[in-house]
């Protein structure tokens, strides 16, 4: 056989192998998904979302879990977005290249790869033992914020780097200061990509279980964190409260984890239903991120 023919044959062989490998992964995933959906779909109902966990599997719901997830996500976002985007801007636009910034850069990249349970242990020592935040929403949010901070910093930097220098030059040439250039040109141009990174980071945080279990987040919570906003018929009508941040919480993955470890069969159905909810949220977030990325593929 000539070399040319052999090359061509190798081409088709590789194509077939590649296809098989891809399909294998997708099929396994699909099988898992279908299995979960089959197990859990009949538990998905209004009651499931509005009930607290219970000893009886058919009465158990995810109310405290999804509200807790919402609280934790809100706290994480409030902490991680300003810190992460701010550091990203500083490192990319202001910091001078020197040994110190190189060192910081390497460490941020490394932190992005640290297993989440380590963050949990850090949080246990720092936020709970030292700062006495207890197993509160704030403690959980702080840990998850730390966990996704490096990811947000890295994606912010990448997004800013992708803004062409011609845009910056144009702005400087009109007499803009560095901050004006960043605020009015660079940030808006990189906004879509920064947002994409934030959503992906948040969707990672939403599924995290290990660090929250490490700090001892409770698995049975038959109440909700205090409402941040309450209304009354008399003045001052609206009452704001930060108490919720200090209340104990549970989140979806922990609730699922708890149900899976129960002996009764009914709880497995509850767990499957919980997984469907969690997966749907993650899928929606990732979908939004992909959509944003697609929309922001700007040509300059």
């Amino acid at each position: 056989m000539s070399k040319r023919k052999l090359d061509k044959r190798m081409d088709s062989v590789f194509k077939a192998v590649g296809l098989a490998v891809t399909l294998f992964g997708l099929l396994v995933l699909a099988a898992l998904l279908i299995d979960v959906v089959m197990d859990g779909y009949q538990r998905i109902s209004w009651d499931f979302f509005t009930s607290y966990p219970s000893r009886k599997p058919e009465q158990a719901g995810i109310l405290s879990a999804w509200v807790g997830t919402l609280w934790i996500m809100l706290t994480t976002a409030l902490l991680a977005i300003p810190l992460g985007v701010g550091s990203g801007i500083y490192l990319e636009e202001y910091a001078r290249r020197n040994k110190l910034t190189d060192f910081i850069e390497i460490n941020i990249a490394n932190l992005a790869g640290v297993p989440s349970v380590i963050y949990g242990i850090l949080g246990l020592g720092l936020f709970i033992r030292l700062m006495h935040l207890d197993r509160s929403v704030l403690a959980g949010g702080l840990i998850l914020a730390l966990l996704i901070l490096p990811v947000i910093i890295l994606t912010t930097r990448e997004a800013l780097r992708a803004v062409p220098s011609s845009i910056r030059e144009a702005s400087y040439a009109l007499g803009a200061t560095q901050w004006q250039t960043i605020r009015h040109q660079v940030l808006p141009a990189g906004f879509g990509n920064i947002l994409t990174g934030i959503i992906l980071a948040m969707s990672r945080a939403i599924g995290e279980t290990a660090p929250l279990i490490t700090i001892g987040a409770l698995t049975y919570i038959p109440f909700l964190p205090a409402n941040p906003v309450a209304f009354s018929p008399e003045s001052p009508y609206i009452h704001l409260s930060a108490q919720g941040f200090l209340d104990p919480f549970t989140v979806l993955p922990i609730q699922i984890f708890n149900w899976v470890s129960r002996p009764q069969k009914g709880f497995l159905t509850d767990a499957a239903a919980g997984i469907i909810v969690l997966l749907t949220i993650t899928l929606l977030m990732n979908g939004a991120a992909i959509f944003l990325r697609y929309k922001n593929q700007k040509r300059w």
Partner: protein
Amino acid sequence: MDRDVIIQIEKADSFYGTKQILKNITLNIYAKAVTSLMGPSGCGKSTLIRCLNRMNDLVPRFRLEGKILYKGLDLYSRDVDITDLRREIGMVFQKPNPFPKSIYENVAYGIRIQGVTNGEFIDGIVEESLKKAALWEEVKDRLHESALSLSGGQQQRICIARALAVKPQVILFDEPCSALDPMATAKIEELITELKKNYTIIVVTHNTAQAARVSDFTAFLYLGDLIEVGPTGKIFTVPQDKRTEEYLTGKFG
């Protein structure tokens, strides 16, 4: 004819790191005239023009020795406010680089960042600048569309209008037509000729025909040296240096 010197470059040496780009350049730029900086790629002409509005400050490890005086003031002295300087000395770049915003916002940006918020005043400046850039008629009905939807030549004129909006004295053109087709090029050149009535213009080009068409004075740079400078007619008809002659006749470049 007597002309005022607006920019004096005195014995300028510039370096990127240890690499010397400009070697002992001494050059006068005359007010309300077009000066071309002409030469082959890598001769330092872009570096030189970027010294004039201190765009090179953005480049790490850039260094300038010697003096550049603008109206007698040392551009590189500590007293110079770089943002004020860049309002006086505007710039149009090689590749059209409008902001990814509307036509209107592109032109308004320069005065907005000065803190101007008066809508009518900004409207007036935008219209006036677009008229001066010979673009008003083409875009007056679509001021709020994206500037990126325009053709390359129109985008470059947006960039010119944007530079004019902050009322500069000097406008630097860094190979403004190198990304444009001949029709768009002709329009920009026509515009440059029109603008020199009110502005001092410096054009970087490697296109000898363009230098001949638009400029009153031509400086020829080669490998970081200023080889020859003078009235354009003289440079093109009786070049003093052999290298200028060879470049003009297309022997290299």
